[in-house]
Amino acid sequence: MESKEIVKVVGFWVSPYSLRVEWALRLKGVEYEYIEEDIFNKTPLLSELNPVHKKVPVLIHGEKVALESLIILEYIDETWKQVPLLPEDPYDRAMARFLADLGEKLFVNAFMALCSEGDEKEKTLKLATEAVEKIEEELKGKTSKFCGGENMGYLDLALGWISHWLPVWEEVGCMKIVDPIQFPSTTLWMENFLNHPVIKEKLPPRDKMVIYFQWLRKEMVSQIAKYGPNGAWAILKLKSPPNYR
């Protein structure tokens, strides 16, 4: 552990993007100070740190500011060499990055399915399920506990939100995305992920998440009704409009 500069994470308690940064630092045994940002009442600090997007998470390392959670994971991996997150082989690295990107698309579609109704809900639910099918295909062949092998890696951290956030969204949104019978490998991986000692001790409380997403769903449904999906995103300023690529 070469670096003696102070490490801070600016995050939001229920954001899987900010949690994955904390998980990475904890896996590597890097001490950090956590700063909570209320994303609905953004501070001048956030605008200063991330003027382009004004979003969390932000990693502060000494004088340096790293943005975008997956980019931050790679920065963490390249700065603190113990407990490597990305595989060594270039092809395996490319696959990990590809699947992490797929996971981000699953996130957007699953979230839209949570917050919409009727045709839009059906469409996004279908897209979300298709993404899980791809993940299941990847995990099916594996005999190891995690995507990274016997130890957790980049892809586990990138997809890990599925194990704790998706079940909450399924409950709040009255929908099923990860059916254990249809997706046994994904389901097993989710259990392994949640049982990892580093993850277990850093998860937002489920009961609070249910309340939060019930509220958020109500807000989004009414905004979408008024302004359409793109307008609702912009108003809540949570993310850019989802790109159903």
């Binding site: 340096k64 943005l67 975008e68 980019i71 931050i72 920065y75 390249e78 092809y91």
Partner: protein, 227 residues
């Protein structure tokens, strides 16, 4: 390296495909270019990229890699005896990746929206958003390049490739819309950089000619109207 060991499935006018070509050229890697016909997807493409069914796809030793920026990073990591594409410092890498992600998530959709906007009001709004994005890239050039020739410093790097691939289409749009996107006075950094990037040996035969792209744009617009 046998040229059949590396194949690129793509289309010459696609800026995303151009990224891969430029990266391979920078590393002096020979490759076979498999041109997709516009409007149809080959068996090989569908087999190699079943998830997204999109170009570019690079096949190396039989293994497909998808998503242009992921492919460029793969090229940098698989061929280590050529010039480096990503910087070596972790923080510089994070900055380059951040801006490349900005290009894909914000700049490109804004650019497309400008190209397809209809009506005076929509065009004006799209134009303002596009110019804002370009000014941010001008800023990024100063921050990342630090006064040198390219975003990557003395030589072309990851971010140069991520942005520079759009220069052909930007010039085509300038011609068709009678607007200056990269202007000598307003964006002097990008102006000088665009010249240097476009004339670089790894780039000059890859970026399609402006006239070709204008023709393609007219053809696509006519097709869209006919439907």
């Amino acid at each position: 390296m046998a040229s059949t060991d590396v194949k690129v499935i793509g289309a010459a006018p696609s800026p995303f495909v151009n990224r891969v070509q430029i990266a391979l050229n920078l590393k002096s890697v020979d490759y076979e270019f498999l041109e997709e016909k516009m409007g149809s997807k080959s068996e090989l493409l569908l087999k190699s990229n079943p998830v997204h069914k999109k170009i570019p796809v690079m096949i190396h030793g039989g293994k497909p890699i998808c998503e242009s920026l992921i492919i460029v990073q793969y090229i940098d990591e698989a061929w280590t005896d050529g010039p480096s594409i990503l910087p070596s410092d972790p923080y510089a890498r994070a900055m380059a990746r951040f801006w490349a992600a900005y290009v894909d998530d914000k700049f490109y959709p804004t650019f497309r929206a400008f190209g397809s906007a209809e009506g005076e009001e929509a065009k004006a709004v799209a134009r303002e958003q596009l110019m804002e994005a370009i000014m941010l890239l001008e800023d990024a050039f100063a921050k990342c390049g630090k006064g040198k020739d390219f975003f990557g410093g003395d030589t072309i790097g990851y971010l140069d490739i991520a942005i520079g691939c759009f220069l052909g289409w930007m010039r085509a749009v300038e011609k068709m819309s009678d607007i200056k996107l990269i202007d000598e006075t307003k964006t002097p950094g990008l102006f000088g950089w665009a010249k240097r990037f476009g004339s670089n040996a790894a780039v000059k035969d890859v970026l399609p000619k402006t006239e070709t792209l204008v023709e393609i744009a007219k053809m696509m617009a006519a097709k869209a109207k006919a439907q």
